[in-house]
Symmetry: C2
Subunit: 415 residues, 2 copies
């Protein structure tokens, strides 16, 4: 569109352009972060601090291909609708850029006069942004790079909790409310396999479904506690004896004593460029666990569901808190990036937005700039104080932690 | 509670008691039917036509065990909360009563002076109620038996559509909206396996997710059209060429030319007492179809999710129309049963509630009494005029049929 080709308002300083992109697994609120960032960048543009705003399609792959959506004049109505739409509106990728990719990226950035690079994603995406930032330093290309945190797994070390988690947890807790009622009606054992490659936060959120003393999930297994099939059979038998039925929430990432994820030994063995083995998008782990129970626990009716991609993409399921915070981290990332470009103290040139929970009974957070390496590559596990000593449940401390992130859940009644 | 032991108001005629129960797979609105029936029965009790109202737990099994919830004085507040709660509040079963069971049932009914038997469920449950009614006739036990229609599969011949379907279809369409956006972001092929043992109505409802010309699902496979793996591979390749990605909605009940459900050959082979093979609660069919595509279509990224029990149990997902109609069929069943007890013309002593869609552009239905055999045992398939000639899509006529049952769906926006 010709209208969009106009230069940014003239200022004393050169007004460099921004590239923003999304990476890794989508979430229900990653578009809210995109909209938060674009809205903040539009404001900075009016202040003469940012030029045009390019949305690269499918993460760094879009930069390498020169495939962009021009978001400079994204209207408020469309922005609001995008913010409420699940999944990644710009498309995503799982590409880890190497040195050659980075050279191609800087050529592209030079051509477009890009001074700001914002990358929304999880720890792998933060690592990709870190690589781009470091290579830019080596190549002498002036770039401010910010990572905007997103992951339904809630496993970033830089955040008390990560945008995307609250909404996915809301889906999981809602699903367990319904599924527990279904199991009440027909009995037997129901296994629900929940996303979470390395961290069990999402499976742990299933505990929020409980309202009555005999409500499920009755057993919760996380990757943080080594999984033993024998122990599992014993736990289920005990729950069946106590409740006459049993609902099991299990993280897709559960692993044996050897540390190898059980799901990874059953699936296709397919890996992405960050080295992650495919675990979602298959019912293999659930079926494997169901077989164990039928053979060894003597339970006649065993069913297994794998919640799969609905956990990150179901529409109209966002937690209000999660949605607001996702918007907030997008806005703040742009603000921090502009501060860094101006050389302000406290905002690193390669940064991420940290989320800190404030002390006190009332839930509140503050968003802070942190060096990008704080979010990159390494993952955070569910801390010990959130895991029950039994190894098959969570603690009250976890419930207190998770409840404000998830918000209200549907009420139910039984006879 | 002593209060509840009081006899019903005295009238000239003897005021016989009612047993109501739920059977088969739960739904999101089967409790609305229960509440509709109980509320209507309470009204009939005030009019001196019905005595006490017993809810048998877990269908006919509760009658055989003498396990009841006394619903005679179920309060309005609790009733409203139960109506909005998914799954079967009285519990369910899949037990097909034989002649011996019926003799035990009539002994129990005689002891409790039960003159009305209401059974909420699908075609197998209607058949169970039909057996009870016929055996009562043979045994000379005076009984009015009414079936209250429920099934997410939408496969009763006695109804234009069945209560439970609209809400499950709403879940499916919502899930596909999100899942299609997820597939837009990361590409490849996504397979979603949707409930429907014999009829493809629920998988067909995935088509309601489409808003834009390139929205998925791009392929829809129903049990009504013989499934060929070769044809499937060709269809997916063509969709990949056209859209650069592909979302597939497939009914769990798809079957080959031999008529054998493909899922039934992959699962545990477990059968219920009505002879139905287990197909839900396992990811086997989705994984099987994904393997075919990886091996024969050369698609690198193939993921499969099986929606499983969430389709019938997810809370706060009810379609308003479905909820209102579920309540209505419960109310009308009791009204028809009382008419039958009074010997009124048009209401059979063993009946079901039929749902007829009225002619005209504005959606409206009428609820009519029908002989119970109209609902029993046999299933309704998706009619030919709802299936596209390609065999891998639905028609506009189906969309017109299904949209008012499902109601509004979340809006989304793309870049």
């Amino acid at each position: 569109m010709k209208k969009e080709e106009k230069p940014a308002p003239k200022t004393a300083r050169r007004c460099r352009n921004m590239v923003i992109a999304q990476s890794g697994g989508p979430s229900m609120v990653i578009n809210a972060s995109l909209v938060g960032a674009v809205t903040a960048a539009q404001k900075m543009r009016r202040e003469g601090k940012v030029g045009r705003i390019f949305g690269a399609r499918h993460g760094v792959e879009g930069i390498l291909k020169g495939d962009y959506a021009d978001l400079t004049r994204l209207g408020a109505g469309k922005a609001a609708a995008i913010a409420l739409t699940p999944s990644s509106a710009l498309g995503s990728c799982r590409h880890k850029p190497d040195a050659a990719d980075c050279r191609a990226i800087f050529e592209e950035f030079r051509r477009r006069d890009v001074g700001y690079f914002l990358y929304i994603g999880g720890n792998d995406s933060a690592d990709a942004a870190r690589i781009v930032a470091e290579e830019a330093g080596k190549a002498g290309y002036p770039l401010v790079a910010y990572h905007i945190p997103k992951t339904i797994d809630n496993d970033l070390r830089s955040c008390d909790h990560t945008p995307g988690y609250g909404s996915a947890a809301r889906f999981v807790a809602s699903a367990l409310i319904g599924d527990d009622l279904d199991n009440r009606a027909l009995g037997g054992v129901k296994i629900d396999v929940i996303m979470g490659r390395d961290a069990g936060f999402l499976a742990a959120a299933s505990a929020l479904a409980r309202r009555r003393p005999d409500d499920g999930p009755h057993l919760i297994y996380l990757p943080e506690t080594p999984f033993s099939a024998d122990r599992f059979v014993k736990d289920v038998k005990a729950a069946m004896k106590k409740f006459g039925r049993c609902v099991v929430a299990v993280s897709e990432g559960i692993r044996g004593k050897d540390g190898v994820p059980i799901g990874a030994t059953l699936g296709s063995g397919e890996k992405d460029s960050h080295g992650n083995v495919q675990m979602s998008g298959t019912g293999a782990l659930g079926d494997h666990l169901a077989r164990i129970l039928k053979e060894k626990a003597g339970v006649k009716r065993v069913r297994a569901d794998t919640f799969g991609y609905l956990q990150r993409s179901f529409p109209a399921m966002q937690s209000k808190t999660d949605l607001a915070e996702a918007l907030g981290v997008g806005e703040r990332a742009v603000a921090f990036a502009c501060m860094a470009a101006e050389g302000a103290a406290g905002a690193p040139a390669a940064g991420t937005v940290g989320i800190r929970r404030k002390a006190g009974r009332k839930y509140a957070v503050e968003l802070v700039p942190l060096p990008i390496r704080e979010a990159a590559k390494f993952t955070r596990s569910v801390p010990k104080e959130f895991i029950a000593k039994s190894g098959c449940d969570v603690t009250a401390a976890f419930i207190d932690y998770a409840r404000p992130l998830v918000g209200d859940l549907p009420a139910t009644e039984i006879l």
